[in-house]
């Protein structure tokens, strides 16, 4: 019975042409790079300063100093204390923020174009003249220590932490959380934060990206005035290559016991690849088919077919160094072992069988088709350009994205699956109820089993 609806599926119309917006580079007198993107009709401007100093560049004994430095930049500058700075930004309706990842520190502001100049003044103050007041740095340090306690109790975060600990050697920066561990954070001081900030403060290595409707705003003149006089800090340094090595040469199964867990949080994977690889586009297509699309192999199997999970996925975290490859799912405790078996089976299948024409088309059509949607507003446009800067990618990388995705073949996908998915030395890491699952896990023979019991420290 088809009640009042039309049976025939409509065909698409003619796509409206879209290109990633053009952007202009200028170099200020001191070598600082300014990139501007004119986006008509977008009054909310996004500005982002990129410092090529990330958590991967800090000494292992000071792990967490870079994230701490980013958080602390807004806690006091030569002209403003923390409250004065935040109030000055709020009066402009501007959100001023700074964060650090493995690859870089970024500091930015979103504000209407009419208030861009005073907002950039505050950004310059925050990035160029932070004072890292001891009291505030210590408070942020303690907040991170408390956050570490919270992370232990959160099964998702605990699984992520146990996973990277399992797959990377101890001397790999990616072995630990980017914000540091309880041991390393406990000793951090304002000097550590300041040193981390200094590492990135070389104008010749800094890039400011500004995007929005900038008509009538002389961004270059403003930037020259605010940033053009900056000099390199004494502690400025080039980022070093990231060495991150696999700790496993066989299959490890690590179960972190969380009593009474009604789900197991599962991560299966190994160290992956850096961003700058020739196979980036084939890898993106492969990842979408395996665990990116809703009807990916993993999600269709574990969610839509078996109902084991609310969602299963997989992907490569492509950093300056080889970030992790992980397949992930949270499944009800009772199906933990069959779920792991299915996940491993899908990873093997990805290696063993070429994908079908339909699978290739679905991934390609999504990645190509969604491209304009990703860049509707200035924030993501500026973010994407900042990404080119961080990974030293050519300016036309984004313009070439869609044709390069279109060019990926079934053979390409098969090749990258075989070259870059290492199922035989993938670690299987899960947080779950060992009383319920350890026995069956042992029997399943996925690999040598370790059960971890976290020490419980009730807060006093």
């Amino acid at each position: 019975m088809s009640d009042g609806v039309v049976a025939t599926r409509p065909k698409p119309g003619v796509p409206r042409p879209y290109q990633f917006p053009a952007f202009e580079r200028t170099r200020l007198a001191n070598g600082l790079t300014l990139i501007t993107v004119q986006l008509d009709g977008r009054p909310l401007v996004s500005a982002n300063m990129v410092l090529l100093n990330g958590a991967a560049d800090e000494p292992a004994t000071e792990a967490g100093a870079t994230v701490l430095a980013a958080r602390a930049m807004s806690e006091g500058t030569e002209r403003f204390d923390a409250i004065a700075l935040v109030e000055a930004a709020e009066r402009l309706g501007a959100s001023l923020h700074a964060e650090a990842s493995w690859d870089a520190m970024t500091a930015g502001v979103e504000v209407t174009a009419s208030r861009l100049e005073p907002a950039l003044e505050l950004l310059a103050e925050m990035v160029g003249r932070p004072t890292f007041p001891p009291r505030e740095v210590e408070r942020l340090r303690d907040e991170r220590l408390n956050d570490i306690l919270q992370a232990r109790a959160d099964p998702r975060r605990r699984a992520d932490e146990a996973f990277v600990d399992a797959i990377y050697t101890d001397d790999s920066p990616y072995h630990r959380p980017a914000a540091g561990t309880a041991e390393t954070v406990a000793i951090l001081s304002r000097d550590h934060a300041r040193r981390s900030w200094e590492r990135g403060m070389d104008p010749a290595a800094l890039t400011l990206v500004v995007g929005g409707d900038l008509r009538g705003v002389d961004v270059a003149a403003i930037a020259q005035g605010l940033f053009g006089g900056w000099e390199a800090a004494r502690g400025a340094a080039q980022p070093r290559p990231v060495v991150a090595r696999s700790a496993q040469d066989g299959r490890l199964v690590r179960l972190v016991h969380r009593p009474g867990s009604v789900q197991s949080e599962i991560r299966i994977g190994h160290p992956g690849l850096p961003r700058r690889i020739p196979d980036f586009h084939a890898l993106s297509v492969m990842g979408a088919i395996l665990g990116g699309l809703f009807n990916s192999r993993l999600n269709r199997n574990l969610r839509e077919d078996k109902g084991y999970t609310y969602g299963a996925g997989a992907g490569f975290d492509l950093r300056r160094g080889p970030g992790p490859f992980a397949a992930r799912a949270a499944v009800n405790t009772e199906v933990t072992v069959p779920a792991i078996a299915e996940m491993l089976r899908e990873l093997e299948r990805m290696r063993d069988e070429p994908v079908t024409d339909d699978e290739l088309a679905a991934a390609r059509d999504f990645l190509v088709g969604v491209f304009p949607l990703r860049f509707e507003t200035p924030g993501p446009v500026v973010g994407a350009i900042a990404g080119l800067v961080v990974h030293d990618l050519p300016d036309d990388e984004l313009a070439r994205y869609r044709p390069q995705i279109e060019a990926v073949t079934i053979e390409d996908v098969h090749r990258v699956a075989r070259e870059h998915l290492h199922v035989d030395r993938a670690a299987v890491v899960l947080v779950g109820d060992a009383d319920a699952v350890a026995g069956d896990l042992e029997g399943a023979g996925f690999g040598r089993l370790e059960v971890v019991h976290d020490e419980v420290e009730p807060a006093v």
Binding site: S2, D3, L44, R91, A330, G369
Partner: protein
């Protein structure tokens, strides 16, 4: 700074479907958002979680669409999509390259008209398991995960449909049958119980033609039930407190209050007050509890606007180690009360207004958000033009209005306090018993 008014058209098909269209040709993107006026407040005891389970079933196919094929088609068209269920409503939305609008409309019409053609026990059972895992992942397997369910249960009496959480209970989910699904669909999923908003790079003439072609033949349901009177006294009447032992390392205090209904201007004032109280590092709660006294790890305060009797104003403070829970609770409630004794300063107002303006500009610059709001204001208030008036409403809130609403909402007798405290696991208790036993032996020897 003013935000340009959003121009839109608003009409109804003969079968009652409301259609709102707003053009924006800046980006080659179009958003479709369809609101059905059914949510978890339409559920009865024994059938909680049903509206949300039903939302999942809506993606399992219809007469001309296979299981999960809606999602596959939208993604292959380069689109993003989702659906959400809440207390007052359910929405389904997709954002796509603009040349794929017709596909989105055809898909939404097919499931509005013919969902039952594809309904099967197998698909229902599958999505039931998915939803049960959603419940575990979002609530049951998380530290502090039960907070919202408990706040709702305390703030709304058992006979009020806001008493139970939208996700429902495992028992009720297990009991949901195919007949329940059919009845729910026939009762609520009718064109005259829906609003469809189309925003972005759209030619209105094309949109109208397609909407009429695909939805026009779906029959009206003349018997969509009206809910009874859901009105509630503005105050809870007496404070309710609960201590919740949980696997958490730090205590956390959750606060809940009955608040004016969504649409009431007093809720506007409460939202601006919440911005001043907890909206970032310049806020009163953050400054005092997190920065100056360093007694809280984090703080929050926000409202969830509902139209069925009262809204919920909720907040929390995570207690830092070695700090007394009582001290944090007292400081938090003192700051809420101070809002009515020391009203917002001019500077606090300037800052709050500037941030609200930027937030609004940021939200409305995305077609997906614009479409959701047009559908929301149409469904809840029969007034899509609210999208152009809400910002002005927020900006005209005064310190006096905030003082008044804070004074009536943040009263002890209108308050729920949930205190999550660390649970010592059984293994530790056994270890303590063992130590105690050994100590006894030593003493005896």
């Amino acid at each position: 700074m003013s935000i340009p008014a959003i121009r839109f058209t608003d009409e109804r098909l003969p079968n009652g479907l409301r259609l709102v269209i707003a053009e924006d040709h800046l980006a080659p993107v179009v958003a479709v958002n369809i609101w059905y006026a059914v949510g978890s407040k339409h559920e009865v005891p024994g059938k909680t979680g049903f509206a949300h389970l039903f939302e999942h079933v809506m993606f399992q196919g219809s007469a001309h669409v296979g299981k999960a094929e809606h999602i596959a088609l939208v993604q292959a068209a380069g689109g993003t999509m989702n659906g959400t269920t809440w207390l007052d409503r359910t929405n389904y939305y997709e954002t796509l390259p603009s040349h794929e609008l017709e596909l989105a409309l055809w898909l939404e019409a097919d499931r509005m008209g013919t969902l039952l053609d594809a309904l099967s026990q197998e698909n229902l059972d599958n999505q039931r398991e998915v939803v049960k895992n959603e419940k575990r992942w979002s609530y049951d397997n998380r530290p502090y995960g039960t907070w919202s369910e408990k706040l709702q249960a305390h703030l709304f009496p058992p006979e009020h449909p806001y008493h139970h959480p939208t996700i429902g209970s495992m028992e009720d989910l297990d009991a949901a049958s195919l007949d329940d699904v059919k009845a729910f669909f026939r009762t609520w999923y009718a064109p005259n119980n829906a609003v469809i908003a189309i925003v972005g790079d759209v030619e209105p003439a094309d949109a109208r033609r397609w909407v009429r072609r695909y939805f026009g033949g779906i029959p009206t349901n003349a018997d969509v039930p009206r809910l009874g009177d859901l009105s509630l006294p503005p105050s809870l009447g007496a404070e309710r407190r609960e201590i919740v032992p949980d696997r958490v390392p730090l205590p956390r205090i959750y606060f809940g209050f009955r608040a004016p209904q969504f649409g009431d201007e007093r809720l506007d004032a409460l939202e601006v007050a919440a911005q001043i109280l907890a909206g970032g590092k310049g806020s009163r709660l953050h400054r005092r509890l997190v920065r100056e006294e360093q007694i809280a790890q984090d703080v929050a305060l926000f409202s969830l606007g509902f139209v069925g009797g009262a809204s919920m104003c909720a907040g929390w403070a995570t207690v830092r180690p070695a700090v007394s829970i009582e001290r944090v609770e007292q400081a938090f409630t003192e700051e809420l009360e101070r809002m009515s004794i020391e009203p917002a300063t001019d500077d606090e107002l300037v800052r709050a207004r500037a941030l609200i303006e930027t937030d609004e500009l940021g939200a409305l610059q995305r077609v997906e958000e614009r479409a959701d709001r047009l559908a929301m204001y149409s469904t809840l208030f029969d007034d899509p033009d609210l999208i152009n008036r809400m910002l002005e409403r927020y900006l005209s809130v005064t310190a006096e209005r905030m003082r008044d609403v804070a004074g009536s909402v943040f009263r002890q007798e209108n308050r729920v306090v949930l205190t999550y405290v660390p649970l010592i696991p059984q293994a530790d208790e056994a270890a303590l018993d063992e130590k105690a036993a050994l100590a006894d032996e030593e003493v005896a020897a």
